[in-house]
């Protein structure tokens, strides 16, 4: 076996090398840049220590963007997993379940820019949604105004992301033997109770994975916000800025001299936040493993 292992080493190291040199090392380099005040090649870099981090944590716009991102992670997560749980309760025995899964999953692989462009036109003041509201006698709303736009973004994001978690959780549900449900039904357990007593406990591991994936994904939300707020003259309103958007705006500083240290520090904070939230999510979802 030793010769075989030696042979396999040559399979592994190129990917390890590429991943390390082009992803891990740049991340460390980014952490180094975040300690300086620097506007790019050809300008002087001054060491600031944790000054950039202090600036970010005390700046109102940045603080707002962190709050927004957390709100999005929590409320989007609630919407998504509520929808996914509903699917888990009934989709197993529905007619056309394969078709339903495909249609529900599809928005997940469509560009968020396209989704944002189409949905924001539908939500425009003279758009499709207000038209529908006027048919049933409700007053039109300014959906894309600064008060409501972030809620619309969360709803749009939850709508487009939910399908991914539905198919992941359903693949776990498919692995549960049918006779468990039959036995439960003979015992007088209703379908709703069966979800709570059988389906959810037996797919809990996959749910925990899903929760982690959602948390990682929700911190990086970027494109859909740009596409929802793109037509506004003044850029993205404060109420709709996620951390990633705030970073992009800091990079495209109107003065033309971006503070690369600050932009880098946001990236480092996002990584730390993702580690903390993943740890927290894993703690919250930890249960005794159930085996059949």
């Amino acid at each position: 076996m030793t010769s075989r292992k030696g042979g396999l080493r040559a399979f592994i190291w190129p990917a390890v090398l590429v991943y390390t040199l082009l992803f891990v090392v740049p991340a460390i380099y980014g952490a180094a840049i975040s300690l300086f005040d620097w506007s790019g090649i050809g300008t002087k870099a001054t060491f600031r220590g944790f000054g950039n981090y202090l600036f970010i944590l005390t700046d109102d716009a940045f603080r707002q963007s962190f709050i927004n991102t957390l709100v999005l992670a929590v409320s989007g997560g609630i919407l998504i997993f509520l929808a996914a749980f509903c699917c888990m309760a009934v989709l197993r025995q529905m007619k056309g379940r394969g078709f339903i899964r495909s249609v529900v999953y599809l928005p997940n692989i469509i560009s968020p820019i396209a989704i944002g462009a189409a949905l924001s036109f539908a939500l425009d003041s003279r758009g499709a949604l207000n038209q529908v509201l006027s048919w049933i006698g409700l007053p039109p709303q300014s959906w894309l105004g600064p008060d409501l736009v972030f809620r619309c973004i969360i709803a749009g994001l939850a709508w487009s992301a939910a399908g991914f978690y539905v198919i992941l959780l359903m693949s776990a549900v498919d692995g549960i033997p049918e006779d468990l449900y039959e036995a439960a039904s003979l015992e007088g357990v209703t379908k709703v109770q069966a979800f709570r007593m059988i389906t959810l406990p037996l797919s809990w591991d996959v749910f925990a994975t899903c929760a982690v994936l959602w948390v990682i994904g929700s911190l990086k939300v970027f494109e859909i916000v740009l596409a929802f707020t793109g037509s506004a003259n003044s850029g993205v309103p404060l109420s709709a800025r996620t951390v990633a958007i705030q970073q992009y705006m800091a990079f495209n500083d109107p003065s033309g001299l971006p503070h690369l240290g600050v932009v880098s520090a946001i990236g480092v904070l996002m990584f730390l936040l993702s580690l903390v939230l993943v740890g927290l999510t894993r703690r919250l979802t930890r249960r005794e493993a159930l085996e059949l």
Partner: protein, 308 residues
């Protein structure tokens, strides 16, 4: 034993009124309401697709008359505007080159690594698998500035000293591939682990080396799922926007999602909604086509990583 018999349905005492109500809700009303909700969701998704397609064929005048009004005539002009004026033709070409060249890089590095990690059952292998998994949690935002700085300076260096010209999109392909490798390696490792190694052991006894076994036995056996994972990686590249915005400064050199975004920003001057929706169809249409063709397998591939 007696208690067991008492629980079988034909010996059960008549149901109390409260139980009947809870059965009515738990077995009929709530599940039916959820089913109706799911069908509404499906109808909304299909309706939205149809609505986008219809809007892309309406003249801007028709669009502004009413979002649900049927087109008075088919406005092919929208597609011509998007393809030529808004640069979608050029952007499609750029996107295809970007998708295929990053696919070659990502799969070229990930496939052997995943196979090697799956077949080495020692401590190093599990450490390295965890090391790749860490990359899934590493947001691209952390490396954007380093990528930007390196890409700019390499471009400068090449232009000044070596080739006299440089395309920032080379950096885009290389860096995008590097960020896509962790997920691909992770999922492929999980898949290769699930394959029995008896075939390879037989080949090994016949004296075949690991490289020969990998190419002549493993790749053909794993072709279906590997293709699926490649498609999912390719879909990710097709939709990539953030890295394009940071690394490619010239709007004319950017990929499709950036072209759509650019057109969307210009809308306040052009007001050409019809062409914008034609752009949406040009960006989304190929994805929907691939999904119609391979949807079931894409869904299987997407669930591969989480269940293992």
């Amino acid at each position: 034993m007696t208690s067991h018999i008492a629980h079988t349905p034909w010996h059960r005492p008549p149901e109390s009124w409260g139980r009947k109500v809870s059965r009515l809700f738990g077995d009929h009303i709530v599940p039916s309401a959820i089913k109706a909700g799911i069908w509404l969701w499906v109808a909304f998704n299909l309706g939205l697709l149809a609505w986008v397609l219809m809007t892309s064929l309406k003249s801007t005048r028709d669009i502004l008359l009413g979002p649900f009004a049927l087109p008075t005539h088919i406005e092919w002009e929208n597609y011509v505007t998007a393809w030529d004026t808004a640069g979608f033709g050029q952007a499609t070409l750029v996107t295809l080159i970007f998708v295929f060249s990053s696919l070659v890089l990502v799969m070229g590095f990930s496939l052997p690594a995943a196979y090697g990690l799956a077949r080495r059952m020692d401590r190093t292998a599990s450490t390295l698998t965890a090391y790749f998994a860490m990359g899934i949690a590493l947001p691209m935002q952390t490396v954007l500035i380093p990528y930007f700085v390196v890409n700019t300076s390499v471009g400068q260096f090449m232009t000044d000293w070596v080739t006299g010209a440089w395309d920032p999109r080379i950096g885009l392909v290389v860096f995008y591939s590097a960020t896509a490798i962790p997920w691909t390696v992770f999922v492929l490792t999980a898949y290769f682990r699930s394959l029995p190694s008896s075939l390879e052991e037989a080949a090994q006894l016949d004296g075949a080396g690991p490289w020969l076994i990998f190419r002549k036995i493993m790749l053909p056996v794993a072709r279906g799922p590997v293709t699926t994972i490649a498609i999912i990686t390719g879909l990710g590249a097709w939709n990539e926007t953030l890295l394009v915005l940071f690394l490619v400064p010239d709007g004319a050199q950017r990929t499709l999602p950036a072209a759509l975004l650019n057109m969307y920003y210009g809308l306040q001057y052009t007001s050409n909604w019809g062409a914008l929706f034609a752009g949406v169809v040009l960006l989304v249409g190929p994805i929907v086509a691939v999904f119609l063709w391979l949807g079931r397998r894409i869904i299987e591939g997407a669930t591969l990583g989480a269940n293992k």
